[in-house]
Amino acid sequence: MTDPARIPILVVDDNKDNAEIMRQYLEAQGYPITVAYSGEEALGVMDTAKPSIVLLDVMMPGKDGWETCRLMKQHPVLGRSIRIIMVTALHAWDDKREALQTGADDYVEKPFDLPQLAKTIERNVAMLPSQP
C-alpha cells in the first residue's frame, strides 16, 4: 500500500472554492497538497512542490489547462513521471482526443463527487513509477 504522505498533489483551479474543497478533502486523506490558482502559478511552483499528481482545471484565464498540461509534461525532470488529471467534463470525443494530444493521463468530471475524485487519484497513484 502506498503511503499518501509520499504523493504530493498539486491542485490547480482558478475557482478558490473548488480548490479549497479539493485541498481539504485530499489533505484529510493524507496527501500533501499545494494549491495554485492559475496555469502560470502552477508552472511556477512545479520545482518546489514536485508533485506526483496534478489536478488541473481546464477553463482558466491566461494559460488554460491544456496549455499548462502540455508545458508540465515538457518539464525536464518531472515531466516523465507526473500524472495529470484534467478536472473537466470530457463528454465529447474531440475533447478526449485533445486531452490525449496534451499528454493528460486521466480526467475527473466537474462537478465531482469526492469519492470519485479519491478513486481517480488512487488509480493514478497505482500508475506512478515505483519510488526508491
Binding site: P32, T34, G44, V45, A92, W93, R97, D106, Y107
Partner: protein, 564 residues
Amino acid sequence: MWRCCRANPDRARVTLSVLLTDSDDSAIAEAVAQLETWQLSVKHERDLSLLIEQLPDVRAVLITTDNPTAMRDAVERARERGIPTIVGSRDETTRRRAVELRVDEWYRIPAPSEEIAARVRSAISRTIPTGEALADRVERAEYERMLYDGLTGLPTLPVALERTRSLIKERGEMVVLYLNFVRYSKIEEIYGWEKLDAVLETTASAVREFLTDSALSASRVTTSFANDDDFIFFHVPLPDVAAATDPEITTLVVHLQQHVASRIEATHGEDVGALIDIYVGRSHVYYNPKVRLERLIYRGIREAANNAKSVEQRERGRRITDLKDSLRDRGVYIDYHPIVVAETRKIFGYEALARGVRRSLRSPEVMFEVAADGDLIWELSRLCRARAIEGMEARLTHDELLFLNVDPHDFADPAFTESEVKQPHRVVIEITERTAIKDYPKFKERLKAFRERGYRFAVDDAGSGYAGLGSIANLEPDFIKLDMSLINCIDTNFIKQNLVASMVRFANDHGAMVIAEGVERAEEFAAVQSLGVHLVQGFYLHRPIRHSGPEAAVPEAAPEPAAT
C-alpha cells in the same frame, strides 16, 4: 507577557531561522523546538507586519489573529518579501479569510505541536511565488525551454551558435552537417506522439553515441536541434588536426545513417525503422573578418540544408525508377500479420502487409509515397492486392479471413472489381479513416456492390481524427480497427481506456467487432482484453509471417491485371 524563547540554542548559531508569530500558544513553542535551527519570536499582532520587514532572519510567519486587517497586512507584507505564511484559525470565518488571502498553510486551533511543525515545514518547502517573482520564474522556465530541447537535451540554434563562435574564429573554418530525418511526422500520424518522442530520443542518443566513437570525436562538435526533426552538427577540428576531408565525411555520413537506422530498428521495430530515411547535407564555412559571423554560419546552415534537400530529391527520383522496376518484376511480397480472438488467442484472420523487395521500398508507407510521386498508385495497389490474394490460398485455412488494405481512391480504379476474389466472403476490405473520401454517394454505392458479393468491411485507424463515431457509423463497418495511437500505453492512460470502451460499446450496439492493432506489451493486451475488445493484433502476440519472401519474388513479364 510577550517573550522570546530559544528553541535550539546550539544549532541556532549556525543558521538562524525565525518563526514570527502573534500567539503564545505553547504548542507553537513545542513545534519550533521540533524544527532544528529554528527560533520563535512572539510579538503583538499589530507589530507583525512591521517586524516582518525589520527582523532579518524571519523565515516564516504564523498568524492567529482574528482581526482581518492585521491578518491581511501581515500576509501581504510577508508575500512581498517572499516569506511563507501559516494561519491558525479558531473559526470558519478566519479560515476562509486565510484561504482568500492565499496563505501557504493553515490549521485549526487547537492543534498538536507535531501538526504545527509539519505545517511550517510544508509552508517553507513550497512557497508560491506571486506577482513579479512568479512571472519571472515562468518566463525563465520558458526561456530555458527555448534554449534546450526538452526531449533530446540538445541546445537549440542560438545556443549552439554562441558556443561555436570562438571556436571558428580560432580555427578559421568549420564544417556544417545538416541531418534531415524524413517521415518522422508519419510516425506521429501512425503511432501517436508518444512513439515519435521515443524515436527522437533514440535518434539523439544514437547520434551522440556515434559522435563519441567517430573520427569527429577528435574535433569540437556542437549539435543542435533545429526543427521538429532535423539535427545540425558544427564540426570544428581541434588545433593541429586537419579538418575531415570530403571523402572522410562521406564515409562518416554513411556510417552515421547506418548507426541511427539500426538503433531505431533495434529499439522500435522493423516497421518504424523502414519508415525513416536520413539525408545529410554539408557545407564548409570559412571565417571572414569582414562578414558578421552569425551571417556566415546561417548561410552555412542554409547551404547544408539545401544540399540535404537535393540529396533527397535525387533519392526520390531513384526510387521512382526502383518502383517502376518493382512493378515490372512484381517485386512486392506479403507479410501476413495474425489477428487473434482476444479471449482465446485463436487466430481469426490475417492482415496482408505489402513490402517492397528492394530495400529502399521495404516500408509500404514509403512505397505508396513514391507511387504518389510517380503517379503509379493504381498500378502499385493492383500488384499488392494480387500478391495478397495469391498468398491467401496457401497461407489461410478455410475459416480464416484475409484483411486487405484498400485505399478509398482504389474504388475508382476500373480494374478493381467485386469479382477480384473467388471467395469474397473470406475477405475483409480495410478502408482507412485518414483518407478523405471525395464523392461520398458514389463511394457508398461501390461499397454496396462489394457487400452484396459477400465482402466485409473494416474501418482502419478508427479514432485517429477528431471526428468521433459519426463518420464510422456512416460506413456501416463489420470491423472497427482502432488507431494504434489509442493502444500505445493504453494500460497507463485512462482517457484512452475511456475512448476504447466507448468504441466497444458503439460496436456492440451496431453488431460490429473491434480490433486493437499495435498491441506490443502484455499490459496493453490485458488492458484491451478487459475493455471488451474483440480482436487483437500486435507484436506481443505474433510477428507478421512471411509467405512469399524476396526469394519467392521471381521476376515475371509484367502480368498486370487487365484494365477494362
